[in-house]
Amino acid sequence: MNAAMNHASPSVTGTPSQARSANTWIVAVALLLALAILPPLSTVMGGKYLLVIGERVMIFAIAALALDLIVGFGAMISMGHAASLGVGAYAAGILASHGYDQAEIGLPAALLASLVFSLATGAIAVRTKGAYFIMITLAFGQMAYFVATSLAPYGGDDGLTLAHRSTVLGAAHLKNETIFFYGMLACLAGTWVLLRAVIASRFGRVLRGLKQNPERMRAIGFNPYPYLLTAYCLAGTIGGLAGFLLLNQAEFVAPAYMSWQRSGEILVIVLVGGVGTLQGALLGAVAYLTAEEVLSHWTEHWKIVFGPLITLTALYARGGLMRFLRWGGGRT
């Protein structure tokens, strides 16, 4: 589907995304630096409040970055991305409930579980296109959700509470909120750098080519399937990382983590920030969670404002926040 490209103004369409991202990586670096000063800032202001918001922003930014890889660069609109978070969180959570509470075990298990889940679902889903892909990922997300609700030994509907955060190298380092925060920041920065490298690589160029014109790519000898499946699995695995972090941040995992509404939220973050920019996913996570936080403090019925905001963004803010930044707020 070239529709997304057609909507952009000609000057944007004419610029390859590589050249675009060259100017905008500053946005991501600025956001990462802004996040980095949160812990000292929150010490000054007193209370963990800022830290907790920052942590949630980072978790959703990681998940959204991964989703942007498949939505923005592979044209695969997944409505089941939250499932990969949930699978990762449950894998680590279940191990922890059996006493394997080390991050050295929990994190690889989370990544592996999400990878296996994405491989199994992706093998079928990637064969479909367009709207069917949306629906099948929705269905797989629901499957994961219902499996989680029926995990009676691990809390079922009510979810699974972690006794304590994962230990690192045998000590409870993650109990220290500042260490946990910076660890998460490192994960976020690492994910961003990794995905930038992936996009810039030959693999990334094939992926973008497949988005723009699958027929032509096939004609010059590329079989789309392995490329799309690899991207899907990579996104799922990174989702597992976000899930592991979410588990430790909340010290809790519940089926609600995998609901399709949650998948929709991550998709909204990607779109609000700007599809196919990576940096946009970061920006979107900051904007989305800040808006949620501000509005929910303002009124209990914050969704009555938030919903139309999302609708208006989808209708009128094509290209998301990144587009406004790119042109200094002006339209071309």
Binding site: I124, T128, Y132, L267, V268, I310
Partner: protein
């Protein structure tokens, strides 16, 4: 697993299937004809139920409430079409998904603001109260038969309209090739609006009918929406016949699976794992079927002739 329980569950499955069909019919037409993924279709169902509650509070008469709620559901659907959806037909799926996602948040919260978060009840009408004795030890509520009956009647009506009328012909033509229909001089926007209003009314009707047996609560449309998506994918996008058969299939399989899966598993495994695995498999069953259909017959079991599942499928 006794025979009476089996029959009761089959009837329940049939009833769920018919309600699903009412929701899915609008969804599959809107999707097939306009290539528009409308996540907000589920809230039409929820609104129908809430309108029925409000109208019942107002009039105290069930039949009158049905009429009033139907009119309100239609008005609401048309209002959404004019204000938001109209601008989305030409957009890509991602924007459609997000815009309608925002509407879900808005309306779910909206009904919470107006009617509160607590579940509400609408009493079934007096004439349809009580139950019929089907056989020894088997009573089935009359109201549920009314749901089955009205669902079947509407399905028949829909079939006649789509197969034998000019409007139906245009709808089928639109599902095959909307651009061509437009080029032949049909006001495609008007057709879209009619299909949309009709679909909203059907979903609203399903919500109205379910109100007396389920509790009316915010978010009740979200689950039915996912089930309706499963139905239209299994049935084939844009196909009314496919939606009907798939809806009955999904309704019966889901209901029977939930009641009997644990017992079936117990035949060849220990009772305690069966109690854990049974419900899990039961709730996954229809999604497994959907995945199988998508993997083996991506166009659905009964695809609309010439329909390619819209823009997305053909590109």
């Amino acid at each position: 697993m006794s025979l009476t329980l089996f029959i009761v569950q089959c009837l329940n499955g049939l009833q769920l299937g018919l309600l699903l069909f009412l929701v899915a019919a609008g969804l599959t037409l809107v999707f097939g004809v306009m290539d528009f993924i409308n996540l907000a279709h589920g809230v039409q169902y929820m609104l129908g139920a809430y309108f029925a509650f409000a109208a019942y509070q107002l009039t105290g008469h069930f039949g009158l409430s049905v009429v009033l709620a139907l009119a309100a559901a239609l008005a609401c659907g048309l209002l959404l079409e004019v204000t938001v959806f109209r601008q989305l037909y030409e957009r890509d799926h991602l924007e459609q998904v997000l815009a309608t996602f925002g509407i879900i948040l808005f309306l779910n919260q909206g009904v919470k603001m107006v009617w509160g978060a607590a579940p509400l009840n609408v009493p079934p009408p007096q004439i349809l109260a009580g139950s019929v004795k089907l056989m020894d030890g088997l009573q089935y509520p009359i109201y549920r038969f009314a749901i089955i009956g009205s669902g079947l009647a509407l399905a028949l009506l829909l079939y006649v309209v789509v197969t034998y009328t000019r409007l139906g012909m245009l709808i089928r033509a639109g599902a095959s090739n909307a651009a061509m229909v437009s080029a032949l001089g049909v006001d495609i926007r008007r057709l879209f609006r009619m299909v949309f209003g009709f679909g909203a009314m059907l979903a609203g009707f399903a919500g109205i009918m379910i109100a007396p047996i389920l509790s009316v609560e915010p978010g009740m449309g979200d689950n039915i929406l996912i089930l309706a998506f499963v139905v239209i994918v299994i049935g084939g996008i844009g196909s009314i016949r496919g939606a009907f058969i798939a809806a009955l299939l999904v309704g019966v399989i889901d209901t029977l699976g939930r009641s009997f899966m644990t017992d079936i598993l117990r035949l060849f495994m220990a009772p305690s794992p069966a109690r854990v695995i049974g419900p899990a498999i039961a709730s996954m069953l229809i999604y497994v079927i959907m995945a199988l259909v998508l993997a083996l017959r991506p166009e659905g079991l009964f695809p609309a002739p010439g329909g390619s599942g819209g823009r997305g499928g053909s590109k």
